[in-house]
């Protein structure tokens, strides 16, 4: 694992997201406890930790998807490019165009492949005309590494694709709206090793343009794709740092036992 990491160049980037004293409650459950984290631009950041520790919850804070859960309350500040996204003036709908999300289970719309990708650009008015939209769709599908497989059947239903293809379609759909941050909640948990490898390759490419945050249960995956890793445990952010350091030389005993498979 060490060799793998050694090849990775970690260039220090400017700050994209910074969270300060974030608390999340589901009714009386305190799901996220006082989390502070700085996420860099053009970097893949992995969230790891045992099940139920709050990775998804924290991820969903970044694009305010938690707003849709009635019982959920978020406290503290989350800044993207220095702007507090929980400010009263911020419209979550506008925020979500800037912070895209890929969900754990592939969830293409029950529409054609084309419409799946074109939907975001359409509602955000990103295309001036049909040709423009065609362009955007093609570019997004290429970035989603699925263009070659679907270019002849853009009118076919997106739900008719295989699981891995669906997930890549969802990634294409997310990048089509030109977000600046891409949140991925266990994007490979429903995929076979080949599709996983494709998605991982894709994530690595996406790093050129986006700040990617990925939740994963696979240490290997975190080690393969990320430059920064955050370890969550029982709602706390236990340790955050260079992926190489976290995996080879963790400072917190909890991180070490999780990575070596003793807690989880």
């Amino acid at each position: 694992m060490k060799d793998l990491m050694a090849e990775r160049t970690v260039d220090t980037q400017k700050l994209k997201i910074s969270a300060r004293n974030v608390q999340v409650y589901y009714g009386d459950t305190h799901a996220i406890k006082d989390v502070n984290v700085d996420i860099e631009d053009k970097t893949v950041t992995a969230f790891i930790g045992p099940s139920g520790c709050g990775k998804s919850t924290f991820l969903r804070c970044i694009n305010r998807m938690n707003d849709t859960i009635d019982v959920c309350r978020v406290q503290g500040d989350i800044m993207i490019d220095g702007e507090d996204i929980y400010d009263k003036r911020v419209d979550p709908v506008q925020l979500r165009a800037k912070v895209g999300m890929v969900f754990q289970k592939p969830n293409p719309f029950p529409k054609s492949i084309y419409d799946n990708v074109a939907y975001g650009p359409r509602i955000h008015g990103l295309a001036k005309n049909k040709a423009d939209l065609d362009d955007i769709v093609e570019r997004a599908l290429r970035r989603g590494a699925i263009w070659n497989e679907v270019k002849d059947r853009l009118d076919a239903p997106g739900t008719g694709l295989s699981g891995g293809q669906q997930q890549r379609l969802c990634i294409a759909r997310a990048v089509a709206t030109e977000p600046e941050v891409l949140l991925m909640d266990e994007p490979c948990s429903a995929l076979d090793p080949i599709a996983t490898a494709q998605v991982e390759e894709l994530i690595d490419e996406l790093r050129q343009n986006y700040s990617v945050v990925i939740v994963t249960h696979s240490m290997q995956q975190a080690a393969r794709v990320s430059q920064k890793t955050a370890f969550f445990h029982l709602g706390n952010l236990v340790e955050y740092g260079e992926t190489g350091t976290i995996f080879t030389n963790p400072t917190d005993p909890r991180t070490e036992s999780y990575i070596t498979g003793r807690i989880g």
Partner: protein, 447 residues
Amino acid sequence: MTDMTSDTPHVHGTLLQADARTRKRNAAETRFKFYGILAIAVGLLMLVILLFNIVSRGTGAFTQTFVTLDVALVEDKLDKSGNRNIEEMKKVSTFGYAPLLKAAMTDMVEKTGMEGQISAADMAGILSKGAPAQLRDYVLANPDKVGQQVSFNFLASSRVDGYMKGRVSRESIANDKSISAEQLDFVDKLIEQGILKKKFNLSFITGADASDARPEAAGMGVAMLGSFFMMLVVLVLALPIGVAASIYLEEFAPKNWITDIIEVNISNLAAVPSIVFGILGLAVFINYMHLPTSAPLVGGLVLTLMTLPTIIISTRASLKAVPPSIRDAALGVGASKMQSVFHHVLPLAAPGILTGTIIGLAQALGETAPLLLIGMVGFIASNPPDGIASGLLAPNSAMPAQIYEWAKRADPAFYERAWGGIIILLVFLLAMNTIAVILRRRFERRW
């Protein structure tokens, strides 16, 4: 680990023969399957009996006995001035037409060589009492035919029709003043001559209701229009209100005790007996808002109240059935709540909403009790509405109300029409359900 645990492992017997437990289990399963088949058979049997009854009793209403007569439209009697002025011709009432019919009948008796076998009054009794009116309507519609000889198909009276259909026999007319044995003899002759025939009667489907004296002329047509206008009101009001309410409750409303109470009340509303909606309609729409009685508009409003809970419940169920991941997906690419609902959730829920709506409409179509209270029963719907306004506001009946009305009348000729009406109603319900299925298929094909 080399020696086994001390207690002996369980040894299974041969698999080639079922053991007692398995046999018992399988027997129970077989018994259950038998009960299930029995239950289905009972249900099917009921259905077959029901359909057989309806069809065997109701099909008679779709045929009617007609008498073919050549009538001389004498100018002297119908248009004295001879200038075919409609206003003047209208002054001749149906009484003025009766002599023409009498002459035509006498003529026919002479031609067929049956003089002296029947009196003039008995002769007229063969025809429906509506025959002169039919003649008059024809003449007023075709004034240029005056002075010519025209062949007509007149409805036979309901007793003659009953004789043709086996409802009336020589024994059964013993105490019947409406028809005599001589008339039946005469009818037999007319049948022989081919002058009197049973034919398909379109006007049962398209025609208006008739008074007690002329069951042979009564039709469902006007009541059908009444039902149509009521359904129009229900569709226009209940669908948008129901769908909007459901979408709000399901997708936007916060989950708190207020929405809980609303939810419970909607479910309760669905269980409220329809007559309660009827009395509510009477109190609110007629007594308070002074809308006209017997009007399809009021009927439609009452049925809307009744149908709303059905539509809301089925719409909410189909909205609930749309996987939340679709909503997340839409919100995730930056769609607003409303966009996610209208672009993604609603199209997926549409087949269910549609089915619920059509089932609600079908229920409303067959509903009689509330119509009783707002005066749509007992009204003799004899004039078809001539536009949307009069269709909504002019007094009318509705299909189930018409059926109830016919079943209530003493004359067995009306009883037959009630069964015929039920066939028409069932055909409509069947058609609506078929449309529901077809629309559903079509929508589902768009995934």
